[in-house]
């Protein structure tokens, strides 16, 4: 056994075998810190948390290399985009952002051509193997680009980050070997249902079983050998995306999957202020009829939208990117403090 590995193994076995008083700074023979019993679980996350920090650094490198401006927008906002299935957290009369999308697009409209942000987002009640109610989002936006450009760019990002971690051109996630070499595969939502689901997209929508069929039959098959883009969503599932020019029944939206894990969501952004207003009104109406918290209309966003022009944006779950690169099945492994540990 190499010396470093041996000393690590010795530290582990010492720490696990000895019951130590909480908070007592005990040092092993080699001078390394060994935590008390209360801190042990947190201590064991240090390799993953170091990797998380390395990924964060490389993400910033990537965007710096492409002339993106890192921006910070407020976490506390007066008027989130009304989306039926996203519950925000009310806070001091306003809301904790479910995503920085609206402020990011106002920056685009003001002429900031390439921007990115790494920030905390909040969604009430979302806690599962891949969900935290408070999570870290990476969003980036580009003027004069559409969702195809972002497919290319997010592939470049993930390839660069994996390389910086010494992963080479493929990664292993929960037993799947996922090759990262471009080009990455793409499949439309309709094709994916035809190929993997027991019923067609049309039938799933008619029976109101889209989400269930997608999670049970389609998602687990996506991105198993190489990252896969699922694209061209039914219009009703993309209230901030542009309608596809040569097929008005779908919106220019894609989701990126790696080894069955949904990693990012992107649009060619809807830039028509009036159309956006109508969609918001419809969505907000449905929210209110269902007894959900009413949201004020984001007027400043709607007013600025026509000045944005052609643009595309993408939201990538940073915690999930770490999950995939660290090869861990549950999201609590990649943050120091999941809510249960507070």
């Amino acid at each position: 056994m190499p010396a470093a590995k041996a000393s690590r193994a010795r530290r582990r076995s010492r720490g696990a075998g000895v019951t130590l008083a909480a908070g007592v700074d005990v040092r092993g023979q080699d001078g390394h810190f060994i935590p008390g019993a209360e801190s042990w679980a947190l201590f064991r996350k240090r390799d993953t948390l170091r990797m998380r920090a390395a990924i964060l650094r490389e993400v910033r490198n990537f965007f710096a290399g492409r002339d993106y401006l890192e921006v910070e927008t407020p976490v506390l906002i007066p008027a989130p985009a009304p989306e039926f299935h996203i519950e925000t957290l009310p806070c001091a009369g306003w809301f904790l952002q479910p995503s920085p999308e609206l402020c990011m697009k106002r920056l685009l409209a003001a002429g900031y051509e390439r921007i990115f942000q790494i920030c905390r987002c909040f969604r009430q009640g979302e806690r599962g193997d891949r969900h935290l109610p408070e999570f870290t989002m990476l969003e980036w936006y580009r003027r004069e680009a559409d969702y195809r450009d972002l497919m290319d760019e997010c592939a470049d990002l993930i390839i660069q980050v994996a390389a910086a971690l010494g992963k080479g051109t493929s990664i292993t996630y929960q037993g799947d070997t996922v090759r990262l070499r471009k080009p990455w595969e793409g499949i439309t939502v309709a094709e994916a249902f035809a190929r993997f689901a027991p019923l067609s997209l049309t039938a799933a929508l008619a029976e109101d079983r889209f989400d269930e069929i997608l999670t049970d039959h389609v998602e687990p098959q996506l991105g198993r050998k190489g990252p896969t883009f699922l694209y061209d969503y039914p219009l009703s599932m993309a209230s901030l995306a542009r309608v596809k020019k040569d097929d008005p029944t779908v919106a220019e939206r894609f989701e990126l999957y790696v080894a069955g894990v949904e990693l990012a969501n992107a649009f060619t952004e809807l830039a028509d202020g009036e159309e956006q207003r109508r969609r918001f009104e419809r969505e907000e109406g449905e929210r209110r009829r269902a007894g959900k918290t009413p949201y004020p209309r984001p007027e400043k966003f709607l007013a600025a939208l026509p000045e944005m022009g052609l643009a595309a944006g993408i939201a990538l779950g940073f915690d999930r990117l770490v999950m995939i690169l660290a090869d861990v099945p549950r999201v609590e492994a990649v943050v120091a403090f999941p809510p249960e540990e507070l």
Binding site: E83, F84, H85, I86, Q124, G125, E126, R127, G128, D129, R130, H131, F210, D211, E212, L214, T215, D216, E219, M237, A238, E255, E262, N265, G291
Partner: protein
């Protein structure tokens, strides 16, 4: 009542029914709910949600009467009645043709449990012993005994002093028909204490 376990309370409109209900967001491992008039316990739970889509609550459920297991996915609009489970102190009376009869000491009401429902407890069911019977709307589901039960040894080989090494054990049969390992000095007719959680001998009991 354990409603609103995640600090979210109930969706509007539910409290007006006068019945405490669970929302899908209350689902978690070990929660007991009523479905199609039968009690179920959640044995596995996960929350999933496709991007921009609705929340899905995936559960593995076990029927507390039949033991049958199945998976089901619930949505945020689903609500559940809690399973109305009660534990009642009852006295064990007798066993007949594989049915075990218990009596409520206050109401003198009697219930019959099957061998499956009684499970390992049958090894320690001596006449008139007090037990906790788990009931779902007056239907018995199972029984739990005190941690320690004293029983009489009805069959034991005599202790052959000299051919035994300290630490050896021998099998004996107790009054319920249960066979277990005990130290060699235990004789027929003696009373011993058994830990009902492990089924193991604890000590000799002197009356």
């Amino acid at each position: 009542m354990e409603n609103g376990g995640h600090g979210q309370g109930l969706p509007p409109g539910l409290s007006s029914k006068g019945v405490d209900m669970y929302a899908a967001s209350d689902l978690r491992k070990n929660l007991r709910i009523k479905l199609d008039d039968e009690p179920y316990v959640v044995t596995e739970f996960n929350f999933t949600k496709p991007g921009k889509g609705q929340a899905l609550y995936r559960c593995k459920l076990k029927n507390m009467i039949t033991g049958a297991q199945f998976e089901r996915t619930f949505r945020s609009v689903d609500v559940f009645e809690p399973a109305d489970l009660q534990e009642k102190k009852m006295q064990y009376l007798y066993e007949q043709e594989g049915k075990y009869c218990f009596m409520d000491n206050e109401t003198y009401e009697q219930v019959l449990l099957t061998e499956d429902q009684v499970g390992d407890a049958k090894n320690y069911l001596i006449e008139n012993i007090e037990a906790e019977v788990l009931l779902f709307e007056d239907r018995p589901l199972g029984v739990s005994l005190p941690n320690f039960v004293d029983v009489i040894v009805t069959k034991a080989e005599p202790w052959a002093r000299g051919d035994s090494v300290s630490g050896n054990t021998k099998p004996v049969t107790v009054q319920t028909g249960y066979v277990l390992q005990v130290p060699p000095f235990i004789e027929e007719g003696e009373k011993i204490r058994i830990d009902t959680r492990t089924g193991e001998y604890l000590t000799r009991v002197k009356d």
